[in-house]
Symmetry: C2
Subunit: 358 residues, 2 copies
């Protein structure tokens, strides 16, 4: 199936676009969407771009009951020269197929999905906001559609891509956030689904978030599920610490999501010859570094926020105020460089960008 076989049906009722300087996150969607269906024995078929419209499913569809669903998040940016750039979209499609594998869902052709994405963006290109800090958020997702109440992988699926022009993920912007170290709830454990981008991981994480918010914190820092000792992620992001000049991030251990921003930040630090290590790091070690005055910076990484500096960590009645609650110098440099590369304002020595032909 090549790009030519992506059928296109344009809307007759284009929606009014929102003001690009007043965007929130993930509430407004563009005029079109990409869809493709899977049927056991037939494979993926009927790839098409169609007007954005509701999904119709049998009440017994497996997604409602047994949660077979995976997703991705990435962004498109429009440059000052009116070029449209995607950031490492091939990595997202690869990860989506890895998530599929974990959830017993069928692999798809990554080239076809990328072609579908490009076609969709070409059609909805006027929806890409051009205001500082904004972007077009891209949400590919796949879900089980077979109406069947037995616990077994679905025989039919739908792959969709929807687009949403977004402002900054955190309304407070790049300001450091206050984080509570989670002591009761667990996000994931080795052997579970933590390294897959699947709905259940996010549903399960909401309770801890709710409790943290009630105490005045923005997010939680997740510890491992076995010993409740080692740092895993922060909110729905990967996490980095600068300790005595060295940058440390938890190693991929089977329960941590393999973040694409995480991977890019590691590559960027290596390019800058700044020491960066992927290893196990305990909350105790972090606290000792803090006590010794060696914890210099802390930040989360993810597609939505790119870099989210951590200003304070609350752990066992102790407050760790990082860099006086200000964004650190390195965090700022990473943020500026990452967003500079993403938006086309800086050169792209890593060939991370994919230009969408318009």
């Amino acid at each position: 199936m090549d790009q030519l076989s992506i059928h296109v049906q344009l809307t007759n009722h284009p929606k009014e676009k929102p003001a690009f300087d007043q965007l929130s996150f993930g509430t407004v969607f563009t005029d079109h969407m990409f869809t493709m269906d899977y049927t056991e024995g037939k494979g993926w078929h009927d790839a098409k771009v169609v007007p954005y419209k509701p999904i119709t499913l049998d009440p017994a569809a497996i997604v409602f009951h047994y949660g077979q669903t995976v997703f991705e998040g990435l962004k498109a940016y429009v440059t000052q020269e009116d070029e449209v750039l995607l950031f490492r979209p091939d990595e997202n499609m690869k990860r989506l197929n890895r998530s599929n594998e974990r959830l017993c869902m069928p692999a798809f052709d990554e080239e076809l999905a990328l072609a579908g994405l490009r076609k969709l963006i070409q059609i909805d290109k006027d929806w890409i906001p051009n205001v500082e800090g904004t972007s077009l958020y891209i949400r590919p997702f796949i879900f089980a559609t077979q109406p069947y109440l037995g616990v077994a992988p679905s025989k039919t699926y739908r792959f969709m891509i929807i687009l949403s022009p977004v402002g900054a993920y955190y309304k407070e912007g790049i300001n450091p956030v206050r984080i509570a170290v989670e002591s009761e709830f667990v996000r994931a454990v080795k052997g579970g689904t933590g390294s897959a981008k699947t709905a259940g991981n996010y549903a399960g994480a909401m309770k801890a978030q709710e409790v943290a918010e009630a105490k005045g914190y923005s997010q939680v820092l997740w510890l491992d599920g076995k010993e409740h000792k080692y740092i895993e992620e922060v909110g729905a992001m990967n996490v980095f610490f600068k300790i005595n000049g060295e940058v440390v991030t938890p190693s991929l251990n089977g329960s941590i999501l393999e973040g694409i921003t995480r991977k890019s930040v590691i590559e960027l630090l290596q390019h800058w010859d700044i020491p960066v290590t992927e290893r196990q790091i305990s909350m105790e070690e972090l606290f000792e570094a803090y006590e010794s005055g060696l914890l210099e910076e802390a930040f989360g990484t993810g597609t939505a926020a790119v870099i989210s500096p951590i200003g304070e960590l609350f752990w066992q009645d102790k407050k760790l105020v990082v860099n006086h609650g200000e964004i650190g110098e390195l965090s700022k440099k990473i943020y500026d460089t990452m967003t500079g590369i993403q938006t086309g304002k800086l050169p792209d020595p890593f060939e991370w960008r994919m230009k969408v032909e318009l």
Copy 2:
């Protein structure tokens, strides 16, 4: 909101009923369904019984992305006197609200939901199969409907009940199944969602099941997520072992589902003065009991299968053949008693049954 406020709209196109002696599990649905909607600030509203029909949702609905969804499973039986019986439906509604709480979803009025269920069953009573081993499977479920890509609890939800006339869950019937002890994958860990009946637990479990099936086993025996040492569940069921005259089942530790069949079996055993203990039990201990000839019976418990005897356990290249691969005497007695009470063939000393007025 009382039962009077459940609006009823009957179908104009009743479907053809399947042959009740050829039913499979969870593939055929009745003519009607119960639905009720939740809106933040307004609460649950619009409780109604309407014709069974597809769900229409925005592609950005939270259920597809962040998996906020919980469910229940219970059964209705028709007696030889044409009475319709439910088995402990109040327990299911209580557990559904407990699952709601874990997933940051709004509590519902259990009495209203039970009234909705009774109304629905009254209307679709001719769909309750009356052949030995069959029943009307009832699936209440709730899912997040708000179109929003931020990771946060939905502000809108739908509660639904659908009905499916079913044959036996396992085609092989009450025959003992062969089980592989899971050594790599983990179903749940304390602090996660294992004790809630939510989609993500089931999606994450499919991979282990797939691997086990490829090796010729029906299900997996799940060990704990921390040490991979203690027994938790079997497939999607609770698990019991009879060891030297005593019945043992893993204690509720935060990662095990609080099964209603599990609870009923414990109460039944206590009623019979058969020693039954809820405690931690390791795979090693089980193996030692087997080696000493003290492992007398093993079985899973759940709504779908009621009792599912285990004929063989495969663990670390060792085969534990339980009771010569035959159903044990006690397992059979529990199955006969439970199904006898459920179907009205035996007295109900525990007042587990709820009769549906027709």
